[in-house]
Symmetry: C2
Subunit: 225 residues, 2 copies
């Protein structure tokens, strides 16, 4: 687009290659330790932290869970997530609009991965930048909240293409915001045919049951393999 693009793209390509190498090593460490790693991406305000807070709370009686959470400027999310009682660490990225594998590696620090069943990684709220960075995770969720509109998958196709499951959040206010679920599903299908789609509400009783069942199924399949 501008004359500057080729230059920044060259640098980006090199950074992404470096990142992929760190991410591959991380994934090997997670596998060796038997830790299942799930990352979350979405636009700001789609409900990642609330979704994760409830997920941690529901899983804690049965699993050893932990979380890393990325943000530009605050440690608020880590404080919110820590209310679940799970170990949580914040990654402050400064002006960087995404997490990188090396940030994850440093944040894990001295944690003993063998004592973690499921590690969650909440990315910076952004539908563009995180898509190019492998974090060594086994499962990537992209959250789409009902107030955002049904067209977001068409406008941000890469993030949907690099994720494994689309979670439709804030379904409890779907009617109030005029959310058209079939239009959203059609948008997702058009950029990623056959993508698994799960409805969720962090405020409704049982609102995460479908997600938790899916997660437990994947965890069981992994352990059996």
């Amino acid at each position: 687009m501008s004359t500057a693009q080729p230059r920044i793209l060259d640098v980006r390509t090199r950074i992404v290659k470096d990142n992929d190498r760190v991410a591959r090593n991380l994934r090997q460490r997670f596998d060796d330790a038997g830790a299942f790693v799930v990352s979350l991406v979405s636009s700001p305000g789609a409900g990642k932290t609330t979704f994760l807070q409830k997920t941690l709370t529901e899983l804690r009686p049965k699993y050893r869970v932990a979380a890393l959470v990325g943000d530009l400027a605050t440690e608020n999310d880590a404080q919110r997530l820590a209310q679940s009682g799970a170990p949580v660490r914040q990654i402050v990225t400064g002006t960087v609009c995404h997490l990188e594998a090396e940030m994850v590696e440093k944040a894990i620090g001295d944690w003993n991965l063998a004592e973690i069943d499921i590690l969650f990684i909440e990315n910076v709220g952004n539908l563009v930048c995180p898509s190019s960075y492998d974090l060594g995770e086994h499962l990537r969720l992209v959250l789409l909240s009902t107030p955002e509109g049904e067209d977001k998958p068409l406008k941000y196709p890469t993030i949907f293409n690099t994720a494994d499951i689309a979670v439709l959040t804030k379904m409890d206010i779907a009617e109030a915001v005029g959310f058209d679920r079939s239009a959203a599903v059609a948008s997702i299908e058009s950029v990623r045919p056959g993508m698994k789609i799960i409805d969720a509400s962090s405020r409704a009783v049982g609102g995460l049951d479908a997600w938790l069942a899916e997660l437990e199924g994947r965890l069981a399949a992994r352990r059996a393999s």
Copy 2:
């Protein structure tokens, strides 16, 4: 954070300097032509396009308005905005998470700026990347929608610091989503004391009146100076 940061920062600094030069030239062209230029930034789904569509429709009987709209992958927004009857052009950015001044310059192309009273520029939905790029605009709005949560200004301070007015959108569903307006105002105040804050609803009758009055006031003051 990673060893890659200094490299990408060097390149970014150079690109931003190039951008600022193009932006300064653009602003001079806008001033010479008497065109008032307003840009909009927000996270994806905060309601930029609907807000702009209604703004264009309301202004058209009194002003010559036009719009440029940036997106990664689709021309949907331009089609929606064109329903207002105003001239609209789409800027497709590919994988770039923000607009740059040169993209704006190219998109304007053969438009006669002297025939435009107000030009709107809708940036890519992103609370990080657009903050560093001057587009030659006179007024930058940052939109914060009620479902996103009151803490967004704390988590994305730079975008609030580079904007002139914060618009609280989707106020018609504030109660349904449990939006705490005073907490949002406190967040904005803590990153940008004294920032002008305007409540808006694109769905409610008269929901943009405060914004339109503010805009007309600024336009009148500009013409009088």
